[in-house]
């Protein structure tokens, strides 16, 4: 792995003025620290994806099949017939440039090919050459170019430098969504086995074992039991959560990241405590133990295959409806794709909160409710006893995940919860939150270790906004509702604005939650002492 860049090195390297040389003549340079390892043969084989072999992107030879060009072009032709978005977005861009400085990778790297428009042009240029008359006739003058190995490498390099966050799409006058183009680009690359291991590995694990981390059923249970011990230490309450329980009302699905590593595990403890306090008749599943979907970063088909388990498990267990935990791309998939892929979920009931009686009309098709919706409803109805002062040591700001913001629109629910569970809440600058929120820099399967430079560059924009509120209001905690965020932002905060921690909203909920029969709490879930009661908060 390459020597990581220091923050000031990154800052100094940023230059938004493009080079003199036209981009088509600028050969791609696969820079260490800016890419992830290639997908291993093993992973691709498990998923049954083509051209499975071990390869190294930094080597000259990518071990491609003879007819790789035809494969790509056929793949493109196929997708142009299947996705109106793809076809349309190839055709109607006017290159106004409004998207250029909206991309966190461009803001953090200055690489002109990270401007969304240019990222799309990487593919459009090939599209024009092979699929449009002017492109065929005019060639380079018509913005067209041949598909050769360098172009292919450029695609790979830059389509795995896009986190599919859709921020550019918010500003585009025609709604051109570079994520759609990246998704198509990655599909075509996958036809040649050109995935990255950080995606292919988790996807294959998820396929076989039910979750990205490859946690086997007993491991899931024992991981949860560790958390239960911790919960008991903090609250004195012993919780016994059900697994694969038939006849439960609700199936709970959350990203497996919450089961595995800090600070996600604290969020997971939050779920456990909340459900226990409510006396909810629910169940975990070890089979559908993954809300997230790295298949989505591979291909539509793979995503569908991974997503299958959720409805299948709900059917098997005979639950009434499904509750989903805090996760970003998980919710993009659940909101926009799941029902189309694997629906209809007619064996489930329209979700109804057993506690408040609220019917979640907005989920009457998929029968799947976001936990922020669920908890907000509880708080609204006064069903939770909360002591926000337990979070008084926190000065909180909230990060909207790209997917829940721009692929769903869940903006107010988490804020409503936060306002009820803590006393010090500050918003980041308005151009960096809600639908204009910045990606953590590591989404869409890019949160590996080897592409740290890329991730830190991509995380600059988000971290910079956090730093602003950190310096101004002493913000020390970044709340979010995304497992990738919890992992990626922890790194990014340490790098760009040390002193800011990362938390899931439900960790804070659990800390504020006054449970029946609990012992006086002395520490929060992380084992840190609670702020002195009645003392002046550091407002």
């Amino acid at each position: 792995m390459a020597k990581e860049m220091k923050p000031n090195e990154i800052i100094q390297s940023i230059n938004y003025t493009p080079p003199a040389k036209p981009w088509m003549e600028l050969p791609v340079e696969i820079k260490p620290g800016m890419f992830c390892w290639g997908a291993k043969a093993k992973s691709l084989n498990i998923l049954g994806l083509p051209n499975a072999r071990d390869w190294n992107p930094s080597h000259e030879d990518w071990k491609l099949p003879e007819n790789w060009k035809d494969t790509v072009l056929e793949g493109m032709a196929d997708r142009l017939k299947k996705y109106r978005s793809f076809k349309l977005f190839m055709d109607i861009c006017v290159r106004c440039g409004a998207c250029a400085d909206k991309c966190h990778f461009f803001l953090g790297s200055g690489d002109p090919k990270n401007m969304p428009v240019l990222r799309a042009e990487l593919m459009r240029s090939v599209y024009r050459r092979y699929f449009t008359t002017p492109g065929k006739l005019l060639g380079k003058l018509g913005g067209a170019r041949d598909l050769d190995i360098n172009v292919l490498k450029e695609w790979w390099y830059y389509f795995f430098q896009c986190t599919e966050c859709r921020r550019c799409s918010v500003f585009c006058p025609y709604g051109i969504d570079t994520a759609e183009i990246t998704i198509m680009g990655r599909e075509m690359l996958n036809l040649l086995g050109l995935n990255i291991e950080w995606i292919a590995g988790p996807a294959s694990a998820c396929y076989m074992k039910g979750n990205h981390l490859g946690l086997e059923p007993h491991t899931i249970k024992s991981n949860v039991e560790f958390m239960l011990d911790d919960i008991e230490t903090v609250t004195g309450i012993k919780i016994d959560p059900p697994f694969n329980k038939k006849g439960a009302d609700i199936l709970f699905v959350t990203p497996s990241g919450d089961l595995f590593a800090d600070p996600g595990t604290y969020t997971c403890m939050g779920y456990l405590m909340l459900f226990h306090e409510l006396g909810l008749n629910y169940t975990w599943s070890t089979y559908a133990s993954e809300g997230g979907n790295f298949g989505f970063f591979t291909s539509n088909e793979t995503a569908k295959r991974l997503n299958y388990k959720i409805y299948a498990e709900a059917k098997r267990l005979g639950v009434k409806w499904i509750l989903g935990g805090e996760c970003g791309h998980m919710w993009r998939v659940l909101n926009q794709y799941m029902d189309t892929w694997n629906g209809p979920a007619d064996f489930l009931e329209v979700p109804r909160s057993p506690i408040t009686g609220t019917v979640f009309e907005n989920a009457k098709g998929t029968k799947m409710v976001h936990i922020a919706e669920f908890t907000a409803d509880l708080i609204r109805h006064g069903k939770l006893k909360l002591d926000p002062s337990r979070n008084d040591d926190l000065v909180v700001t909230y990060h909207d995940s790209c997917n829940t913001a721009r692929g769903m629109g869940i903006l107010e629910e988490p804020r409503y919860i936060i306002r009820n569970i803590c006393n010090n809440f500050y918003e980041m600058p308005e151009d960096t939150i809600r639908e204009k929120t910045f990606c953590c820099g590591s989404g869409s399967g890019l949160n590996a270790g080897e592409d740290m430079d890329l991730r830190m560059k991509g995380g600059l924009a988000r971290a910079n906004a956090v730093r602003y509120v950190q310096q101004r209001y002493g913000v020390n905690m970044l709340a979010n509702i995304c497992a990738i965020d919890r992992a990626a932002l922890t790194t990014s905060m340490n790098y760009w604005c040390p002193g800011v921690g990362v938390t899931g909203v439900h960790e804070m909920v659990a800390n504020a939650l006054v449970m029946k029969g609990e012992k006086p709490r002395e520490t929060n879930l992380r084992g840190e002492p609670l702020p002195a009661k009645g003392g002046e908060g550091n407002v």
């Binding site: 903006l411 107010e412 804020r415 409503y416 306002r419 010090n424 809440f425 500050y426 918003e427 600058p429 308005e430 602003y468 509120v469 101004r472 209001y473």
Partner: protein, 397 residues
């Protein structure tokens, strides 16, 4: 930043809608005037300028008053005004907008308005007035917007606004001086033919403008989270006090010159305004109202104890404003035409249509002010109170 004006509470939208309705009514009235001719107003061959030009004259003063914030803040580094200097600048933008609209509705041939640019006569004061007014509009909009934009970005004010700000100081003086010259340079109009005209204009402007600004600052504090600050308001109060006294002093000079010299044509208009002439006295009650209010305001303002009580200060400012509005937005212009150069007395009173159009222009100006203030205050408040912004949750209820 403009998007800030597109989101707001129900009250905000109701207010905007209300103003739009008034603008609509004013526009309809204007179309009627456009088709009928200016004969639909109360103006006549003898009183050939009326309410429109009088309002224009008054509002130039309001616009010029922004300089009373700019000078202390930028020239004397008086930081207290840092928070409200933008309110002054945007008030100027709104006032100049109204000025331009009032001139427009007063034109007999509005479609030829560009002739002023296409066939300029540089020795016409009106040509200069159009130049300085549009320049002042551009200056304030540019400076105000750019600095606000920088504040929103959280970066220092762009350096190019600095020289423009300095330029805006003499420019503000010039708009009112030039407007005074519209009147002060006319032979045969003894009432206006006075060397202190420009000085009087400025003095009244620096009383009326800051008085309005002070009231606006209080209003803004009441309905938004933006507080101009006690000290800023007190300083404004002081400015109003000084300016009002200077203004009345200058008016006194006019009286002395006219009546001690006892030259008939110099006395005539004063007589008409305050006592009536040849049995014509339509404006007398108004002028005395103005005088009484002037006395009331001065006797309140002069005592710091009263001034320090914001409610009383507000009352004094209302009195100041109304007094000066009558004096300049009515008496000064109409008075100059009565008696006519041939010593006839033709009285003037605005007609319904004229008042509706005036209302429409004011509504348009207030709309501009509302939008600009909404943007400015949203930016300032967002900068100062990033804590739990009212979300959609509260709004739904």
């Amino acid at each position: 930043m403009l998007d800030k004006a597109l989101t707001g509470s129900k009250l905000y939208w109701a207010w905007v809608l209300f103003l739009l309705v008034l603008v609509g009514i004013g526009t309809a009235a204007y179309i009627k005037q456009f088709n009928y001719g200016l004969g639909i107003t109360g103006m006549s061959r003898d009183v050939s300028w009326g309410f429109y030009i009088a309002q224009f004259t008054f509002l130039v003063g309001v616009a010029a008053s922004a300089v009373m914030l700019v000078i202390p803040y930028y020239l004397h580094n008086y930081k207290t005004f840092g928070r409200i200097v933008i309110l002054g600048e945007f008030l100027a933008v709104s006032a100049v907008t109204m000025c331009i609209l009032f001139i427009f509705v007063d034109m007999g041939q509005p479609m030829r308005i560009m002739n002023v640019v296409l066939h300029p006569r540089p020795n016409s004061v009106m040509f200069w007035d159009s130049l300085v007014l549009s320049g002042y509009l551009a200056l304030n909009l540019l400076i105000g917007w750019a600095n606000l934009h920088a504040e929103k970005m959280g970066v220092p004010h762009p350096s190019w606004t600095k020289p423009l700000t300095y330029l805006s100081v003499p420019w503000a003086v010039s708009i009112h001086t030039v407007t005074a010259f519209l009147y002060a340079g006319l032979p045969g109009r003894a009432f206006w033919l006075s060397a202190v005209m420009a000085a009087r204009f400025l003095a009244s402007a620096f009383a009326a403008g800051p008085a309005l600004l002070l009231l606006l600052a209080l209003l803004v504090r009441k309905i938004t989270r933006f507080d101009a600050g006690k000290e800023a308001i007190q300083t404004l109060g002081k400015i109003v006090t000084y300016a009002m006294f200077v203004n009345v002093f200058l008016l006194g000079l006019e009286f002395f010159t006219a009546f001690y010299s006892h030259i008939p044509e110099h006395m005539a208009s004063f007589k008409y305004l305050y006592m009536g002439l040849d049995g014509h006295n339509k404006l007398v009650p108004l002028m005395w109202t103005s005088s009484v209010l002037a006395v009331v305001s001065m006797s309140m303002l002069v005592f710091p104890q009263i001034r320090r009580k914001e409610k009383l200060l507000a009352v004094a400012c209302v009195a100041t404003f109304i007094s000066l509005w009558i004096d300049k937005g009515f008496g000064l212009v109409i008075g100059g035409f009565i008696p006519s150069p041939m010593d006839h007395v033709t009285e003037y009173w605005p007609t319904g249509i004229e008042l509706l159009i005036t209302m429409g222009v004011y509504a348009a100006g207030i709309l501009v002010l509302t939008v600009l203030y909404k943007v400015a205050i949203s930016v300032k408040v967002a900068n100062e109170y990033p804590a739990p912004l009212k979300g959609a949750v509260e709004e739904a209820h």
